[in-house]
């Protein structure tokens, strides 16, 4: 036990976690009432949204009805995006997808993961933006990150806390590196292809070019 107070004032055992597990929305995601949520569920994907829609109103902390009618109307949002509010959300009011990675080899082969318009952390723990639950060789928190640059519509792969390697097209990645369509990203024992959605032809600020 090596108790540490992180920059945001959370206490955690630094012998157990490489970085603060509370800073991205809490470590312990226990499945309480969604029997349909199988293992390997990605936070931000449909099952998480469904459970939000089901339970959003019940027992939630709310103001009285008369307080602000508009507030009641805009109740639960459709996506699981509450962890950080990205620039795109402030600008557009939504947090749209800007690309994907698709697992082509490894424990979650066949699965896709949404990249949002911000710095997306990738890891095994639920606190990450992209959760790859079933590959135990991927670090719990922030093995790597994929950052989307809103101004230039570009993507970078950034190394994180991962101890089991990060490769781009079979080359090790030690610094933030630009990535393009169908680049091969390797983390732990899994391989992913990167598929951009935003770029020269389309972006959320300017629409279709």
């Amino acid at each position: 036990m090596a108790l540490t107070e992180c920059a945001n004032g959370h206490l955690y055992d630094s012998a157990q976690y490489a970085s603060c597990p509370y800073c991205n929305g809490g470590v312990n995601r226990v499945e309480f009432a969604s029997p349909d949520s199988g293992i390997g569920k990605t936070v931000g994907a449909s099952s998480a949204v469904n459970s939000a829609a089901n339970v959003g109103e019940i027992g939630a902390t709310v103001a009285p009805a008369g307080y602000n009618a508009q507030a009641k109307a805009s109740a639960p949002e459709e996506e699981d995006i509450g962890k950080t509010v990205a620039v795109m959300k402030k600008d557009t009011g939504i947090e749209p997808v800007v690309g994907w990675i698709v697992c082509i080899q490894g424990a979650e082969k066949g699965k896709d993961y949404k990249i949002l318009g911000k710095n997306n952390t990738i890891g095994r723990g639920e606190g990450n933006d992209i959760v790859i639950k079933n590959d135990s060789t991927i670090s719990r928190q922030s093995h790597a990150r994929i950052a989307y640059d809103v101004k230039h519509n570009t993507f970078h792969l950034i190394p994180g806390e991962g101890t089991n390697g990060l490769y781009l097209n079979d080359e090790p990645v030690y610094v933030p590196t630009p990535i393009a369509a169908f680049d091969l990203i390797e983390m732990g024992e899994s391989k992913f292809l990167f598929i951009p959605f935003c770029g020269d032809k389309f972006n959320w600020q300017n629409g279709l070019q």
Partner: protein, 274 residues
């Protein structure tokens, strides 16, 4: 005479023995947080000076739990904004001035920042505590919980700002003490005060600080803990020897309840040791 007056006033808050003139208390701090069955974590918490003995002694220990309001616009943004503001206020606090007044002011400052960002459509509850020179100062808004565990008794220090609670107080003030008359009140748990509320006009704070004793345990938590666990369950956890055990036990108990609509749950636990 002034001394007696002070003790009499303190007695209104808690039955206290006179302040012991011994060396300062030290504090052991633990925290826990879980997302429950919600899609996102909207609770935020913070602790300051917990690992720095000198800073803890000179500036005091600060901790806070904020429960962002689900079902409204961006609860996490509200609770994080509040926490950031409270941390800044604590850093700038004048220790020679009135701590209770500055603590209340910090709540209103945080509230106006949340309101500026979210426009009154959402907000956060607040529990904030300063432990300075062996005394507890607190300020609370909304329906989160602040407990003091002393001599096998669990005492809830703050008063909730909910519709039900407000109605009950009004009724008692009017001389009506029937506790059951509001049991079917619609929206009984709706908040009548929260950080970010337009025209927030109430906080619950102590003007006279509570003298802390060896063995006291203070727990600040969101309703995902305080509204789920019974008094007996909380007491059972707080009877454990070490704060980390207390936190993991509380967490296990919340999970074991297996509520279908388990809210985000967060707690900060502080053990006072002389």
């Amino acid at each position: 005479m002034p001394d007696t007056m002070q003790n009499a006033n303190e007695g209104a808050y808690l039955a206290l023995t006179p302040r012991p003139k011994e060396r300062l208390l030290s504090y052991k701090i633990g925290n826990l947080q879980g997302i429950g069955s919600r899609a996102r974590q909207e609770d935020s918490f913070t602790v300051m000076n917990s690992m720095d003995v000198t800073a803890m002694k000179e500036k005091g220990l600060f901790f806070s739990v904020c429960d962002g309001m689900g079902g409204m616009k961006d609860g996490k943004l509200a609770s994080e904004t509040a926490i950031a503001s409270l941390r800044q206020s604590f850093t700038e606090m004048d220790r020679s001035g009135s701590i209770p007044a500055q603590l209340v002011e910090s709540a209103y400052t945080a509230s106006s920042k949340v309101e500026a960002l979210i426009g009154g459509d959402g907000g956060s509850t607040l529990i904030e505590c300063v432990l300075f020179e062996g005394k507890l100062y607190y300020c609370c808004v909304g329906d989160s919980f602040l407990f003091l565990y002393r001599n096998n008794e669990l005492i809830m220090l703050n008063s909730e700002h909910t519709l039900l609670h407000d109605r009950e107080i009004e009724a008692i003030q009017d001389g009506d003490v029937n506790p059951l008359q509001f049991q079917n009140l619609p929206e009984a748990t709706a908040l009548t005060g929260f950080l970010g509320m337009i025209g927030l006009d109430k906080t619950d704070s102590n003007v006279i600080p509570i003298n802390l004793h060896n063995g006291d345990i203070i727990m600040a938590c969101s309703d995902g803990v305080g509204g789920v666990l019974s008094e007996e369950e909380i007491k059972e956890s707080l009877e454990l020897s070490d704060v980390n055990h207390m936190c993991s036990d509380l967490e296990q108990k919340v999970i074991a309840h297996h509520r279908p609509h388990q809210d985000n749950f967060t707690a900060v636990v502080v053990q006072c040791i002389r």
